[in-house]
Symmetry: C2
Subunit: 136 residues, 2 copies
């Protein structure tokens, strides 16, 4: 069983074939899939799985902190199983491919007190944009 499923079971989850398949789709490679892409891959293994269940399962994994939601454009959100290692994203403006990146320095510290407007800052996300080798 995958690490992800193991952790989910440890949190009291009922282990259904649907959840197993969604976890397997996310667990394999290092991916940034939309909900419908996850559904398409899940269907090829478990043809009767519904879109609603994929959305539910992804949402639950996000709530549990096991999966990260990545919303970079105005299109579909992407689901990232690499939630336990803080990282940022680099996106090709040509083909949309996404890479994980790890910028140096402390993003939050880069925001001066005079620019915080009394907010309690909890996090920061960066999206780098550019052209990948194939597109440039």
């Amino acid at each position: 069983m995958s690490d992800l499923l193991e952790r989910l079971r440890g949190r009291g989850w009922r282990l259904t074939s649907q959840r197993r398949v969604v976890a397997e789709v996310l667990d394999g490679e290092h991916v940034h899939l939309t909900a419908d892409e996850v559904h398409a891959r899940a269907v090829s293994v478990l043809p009767e799985i519904s879109r609603a269940t994929v959305y539910n399962t992804l949402g639950e994994m996000v709530s549990l902190g096991e999966v990260m939601e990545v919303a970079t454009d105005g299109r579909a959100k992407r689901y990232d199983p690499n939630a336990r290692h803080a990282h940022q994203h680099l996106i090709c403006s040509g083909c949309g491919s996404i890479r994980d990146v790890h910028p140096q320095g402390d993003l939050i510290a880069a925001l001066p007190a005079g620019e915080r407007f009394g907010f309690v800052i909890s996090g920061a996300e960066v999206t780098y944009r550019g052209l990948c080798p194939d597109c440039s």
Copy 2:
């Protein structure tokens, strides 16, 4: 006439009442409105303006670099007339309010060569999250 309209006319735009109203909605205060919010304000001045025209006009302004699209969550994009001064955004996780912020340092330089995967980097956007004084 607003600065924004002046610049648009200089680019050969036909100056219709619809475009005038959309420009006025964005030009007044320093705002981050959704397309439907722009439409609602526009309708109060020009009741027959259509949603399609608001979307078209906003899209054209973005193409011309006069307005910036801000897509921070999976919800509606926001349109930002402050496109000519580079800045980032700080968003309240409680009420969704948005402030412009100016972090120190060079974001792009913070990405080491070994983390660029051969991409030609063209830009970077940061979204800071936190709780505003009212929500914390």
